[in-house]
């Protein structure tokens, strides 16, 4: 009896403690789930708005708006540059490379033309069956990416590129590093084998070779990756697809982009990053990029392609992110290469082509990282009028040669 009397309150207390523990755990699980779902849905909505804006911006760039002085034929030529898949193989192929400078028009309304489209229109006005311009330029492109794009474009099209026109900016010579979407080009069997032969036949350009060797990946043995998938992979793919039905999961990539943008905002404030801050050009990546440019010239020469290089316009105000000494060194080195490969390479200097009034300013209306520098000078991009001026200058300096080359096509496939 005594035992029962003493144990009953203890058992009751233990049961009550167990209930409390269960309640506490239940609260943690339920609240965690609730908060995760609510916050996840809210983040997905924010990210969804962002992707909607991006899609809208992409649509803006996919058409050509009528403008005074542009005939229906001009509009059709300008539009054709945006749809390279439809390029007729009867025309000479002009591959237009460079960084965002050659296509970005921060001030321009939707449908405005960039220098590539102007180049197409101006060349077509002289001979409407001669040349098809295709854009290969990408924002922040360096020379290794340029080379890879040139190789890939030369292999992919019904007719080999006849002419490569590219701008050269100091920014392109500063960095080394090929982005994943461009690296993937090297996985194409023909590009891969071209790269290999380029490396093996140019052992003197050791730094360039090393950079390209890093891009060589083992070739896929099967042409149908989906069929090669194991059961584990198929199950994982199915689960990922199911998970995508939760909008938050589906918006992950967008959320990473948004997060980076917000982070960049703080970074700019914290590290006092401004558009005019001088950017150093380190010796090693610069030397490698010069070697890669030489490799591009040798490649063009070997394939009987013509190369038109122009020094991209430089905004000549101080303070300036580009060091004048670095610019001078780049001019010297590139001109030396142009002399050596003068049979196929033509160098033009457009450093001072664009007057101060035609340069862009960053504004809060711009999207992405550009808006972070609102109110500052844009040292890389210029107005739509400047794009036209650049294309006119290219046509005036090299247009007749381009049209002449288009009648003597490089080795057709």
């Amino acid at each position: 009896m005594t035992e029962v009397k003493t144990s009953t309150p203890g058992a009751g207390a233990a049961a009550s403690a167990r209930r409390m523990t269960a309640l506490r755990r239940g609260y943690v699980v339920a609240m965690s789930l609730l908060l995760t779902v609510l916050a996840g849905n809210w983040l997905a909505t924010v990210a969804g708005q962002n992707i909607y804006e991006k899609d809208e911006a992409r649509t803006d760039r996919q058409f050509v708006a009528p403008a005074p002085g542009l005939s229906p034929a001009d509009l059709a030529e300008g539009q054709a540059v945006l749809t390279p898949g439809e390029a007729p193989s009867t025309r000479a192929q002009l591959f237009y490379l460079g960084d965002s400078q050659v296509f970005s028009r921060p001030d321009a309304p939707p449908g405005a033309l960039n220098s590539a489209q102007w180049l197409q229109i101006l060349l077509a006005r002289q001979d409407d069956r001669a040349v098809r311009v295709r854009i290969g330029a990408s924002p922040g492109m360096d020379i290794s990416e340029m080379l890879l794009k040139a190789l890939s474009a030369a292999e992919q099209n019904p007719r080999q590129d006849d002419v490569i026109v590219t701008d050269l900016a100091l920014a392109e010579m500063r960095e080394l590093g090929v982005r994943a979407e461009i690296t993937s080009l090297a996985a194409q069997p023909t590009v891969n084998s071209d790269l290999k032969s380029l490396i093996s036949s140019n052992p003197d350009l050791r730094d360039a070779d090393k950079t390209l060797e890093a891009l060589l990946t083992p070739q896929q043995e099967s042409g149908n990756p989906a069929a090669d998938k194991s059961l584990a992979e198929k199950i994982e793919d199915t689960l990922q697809r199911k998970a995508d039905s939760w909008s938050f999961f589906a918006q992950r990539e967008n959320l990473v982009g948004l997060g980076l943008l917000r982070y960049a905002q703080w970074e700019h404030r914290l590290l006092h990053i401004t558009a005019d801050k001088r950017i150093p050009t380190h010796a090693e990546p610069y030397r490698t990029n010069v070697q890669l440019l030489e490799l591009l010239m040798r490649y063009a020469q070997a394939r009987d392609m013509h190369l038109v290089l122009f020094f991209g316009p430089v905004r000549s105000i101080e303070p300036n992110p580009d060091d004048p000494d670095d610019l001078e060194r780049m001019h010297r080195d590139v001109l030396r290469l142009c002399e050596r490969y003068s049979a196929t390479a033509t160098c033009l200097d457009y450093s001072h082509l664009i007057p101060e009034g035609m340069w862009a300013e960053y504004s809060s209306n711009q999207r992405g990282a550009f808006a972070l520098m609102a109110g500052q000078h844009d040292f890389y991009h210029y107005t739509e009028a400047a794009h036209q001026a650049l294309a006119e200058k290219i046509v005036s300096d090299a247009g007749s040669k381009i049209l002449q080359w288009s009648n003597q096509p490089a080795g057709a496939h």
Partner: protein
């Protein structure tokens, strides 16, 4: 063809794995309640789950694991009948041969280059986790030789070798700890709650923190880029930042992995060895090795250093044993000079620490505790960071270049690495120490009901933030660094 890892495996960071855990858990409950011999049925279920898990990496890997398990089990019986040194050496020889063939031969054959490959060399596979489960087999044989009372059945032994949470990269388990738990696991509510907490923590450490340090926030940043970019070279400041970045990347990667593994086992009522305990708070190299990769360092201590050190009574031999044991530790990571030199450096650090302790005793030197702890921490932290540079360098030439930058004070004027990466590394490292300090403070105040209530009330916020961050960052296809060892 050298096959280093399954290209399509069930890995710890996949949704399949998060589904695999509750599936096996439910089946375990079902087996426990339905079958007449729940222990046997449960062990068979776990063994089948472990083999299925490992088979998703490669069927060839599974074959090697099964053969190794069967042979080691037979060797155990053979040794138990008559535990002689000769019989033990047979077992050691077999396992070393396994390592030589499946871990080192593929690497050596790839170093031989084109034209030197025989069909055999080209077809040798490198089963993931081979060095972990081979060390488990060795510890089992050592324990039998020491006449520990171990009587695992074949199923239990195979499960010990293949237990799915640990089969890929440890922690290196010991039979005396696992056997009783395999026979009578009793998962409580606390186990499940703690297991889930550790899985979430581990995923956060790996998917968020290690990923940010390893690959950076943007292309052209991160530890991997920093070490692999040879073109620009490094300044002294870059080397320090890369060393800090890599040390924390490794910590978050491997401690994150360990948390997921320990948490998974805990959900099933199995308590595994801890693998990390705030290693960067260590105040001496000896303490560091009781806090970093604890399961392997204690294995090396018990089965390599102790037998070696007791072989000869002289002090110099004990020091030599330390260096040899740590070089073996380095060699365990792979057949590369960087690992061996890293191991030798660790051995020398441990010997130096012992010498300093002896000097302290002999000279009756008594430093104020704050000076001793802070000085010890600073020296240990910096020494460990520098040794990681050798470990991570692509070759000894690169390590030499990086050390060259360290000792040239003129190279301390600027960073070559992106400022953003420098900032991120410093923020993560400082946060680690702040959080470690706060955690210690909270542990001291654990009895306070106010602290308990605040912790309980805020925990859902922390869980949901962690889960959201894990989901967002899961867009990057991450791989655990230690899978390559």
């Amino acid at each position: 063809m050298v096959e280093s890892a399954g290209r399509c495996a069930l890995n710890l960071l996949s949704l399949s794995y998060l589904l695999f855990i509750p599936l096996v858990w439910v089946l375990t409950r079902l087996v426990n309640s339905v079958t007449a011999r729940p222990m046997k049925a449960r062990q068979l279920l776990w063994l089948a789950a472990s083999y299925l898990f490992y088979a998703t990496w490669s069927l060839k890997f599974l074959c090697v694991l099964v053969v190794s398990s069967l042979v080691n089990y037979a060797l155990g019986i053979y040794l138990k009948r008559k535990p002689t040194a000769g019989r033990l050496w047979v077992g050691i020889g077999f396992n070393l041969l396994m390592l030589a063939v499946f871990k080192y031969l593929p690497v050596w054959s790839s170093h031989l280059g084109q034209g030197h490959h025989s069909w055999l060399l080209e077809n040798v596979i490198l089963p993931v986790g081979v060095s972990f489960w081979t060390f488990e087999a060795l510890s089992y044989l050592f324990d039998i030789y020491r006449e520990e009372d171990l009587d695992p059945s074949l199923t239990e032994f195979c499960l010990y070798m293949a237990f799915w949470p640990t089969v890929l990269s440890g922690p290196v388990c010991r039979m005396p700890e696992l056997l009783p738990q395999f026979r009578n696991p009793q998962p409580t509510g606390d186990d499940i709650a703690d297991g889930v907490r550790r899985i979430v923590l581990g995923l956060f450490m790996k998917t968020v923190l290690s990923q940010i340090l390893g690959s950076g926030l943007r292309p052209g940043e991160g530890v991997d880029f920093g070490f692999n970019q040879m073109a620009r070279g490094w300044t002294g400041l870059d080397v320090w930042i890369l060393a800090i970045g890599f040390a924390f990347q490794m910590y978050f990667d491997f401690a994150g992995y360990s948390n997921i593994v320990i948490g998974t086992a805990r959900v099933f009522g199995i308590t595994l060895r801890e693998n990390f305990r705030d290693p960067f708070l260590s105040t001496s190299p000896a303490e560091f090795w009781t806090r970093w990769h604890m399961s392997l360092s204690s294995w090396i201590r018990d089965y390599v250093f102790m037998p070696l050190a007791t072989w000869r009574p002289q002090v110099w031999w004990r020091h030599a044993s330390l260096v040899i044991a740590m070089m073996l530790f380095g060699f365990w990571h792979g057949a590369d000079w960087t690992y061996i030199v890293w191991g030798a450096l660790q051995g020398l650090l441990l010997v130096s620490h012992r010498q300093f302790q002896q000097f302290e005793r002999r000279s009756n030197l008594q430093l104020p505790p704050i000076v001793s702890s802070l000085g010890g921490w600073a020296i240990t932290f910096c020494a460990m960071l520098l040794s990681w540079v050798v470990f991570r360098a692509n070759d000894l030439h690169q390590a030499r270049l990086m050390f060259h930058a360290l000792v040239h004070f003129s190279s301390y004027r600027h960073f070559v690495l992106p400022r953003n990466f420098v900032l991120m590394t410093v923020v993560i490292a400082v946060s680690y120490f702040v959080i470690a300090g706060l955690r210690r403070l909270a542990e001291n105040m654990k009895q306070s009901p106010v602290v308990l209530r605040i912790g309980w009330a805020l925990s859902p916020v922390m869980y949901s933030v962690a889960v959201l961050a894990i989901v967002i960052m899961s867009i990057h296809k991450a791989v655990f660094v230690y899978l390559q060892f």
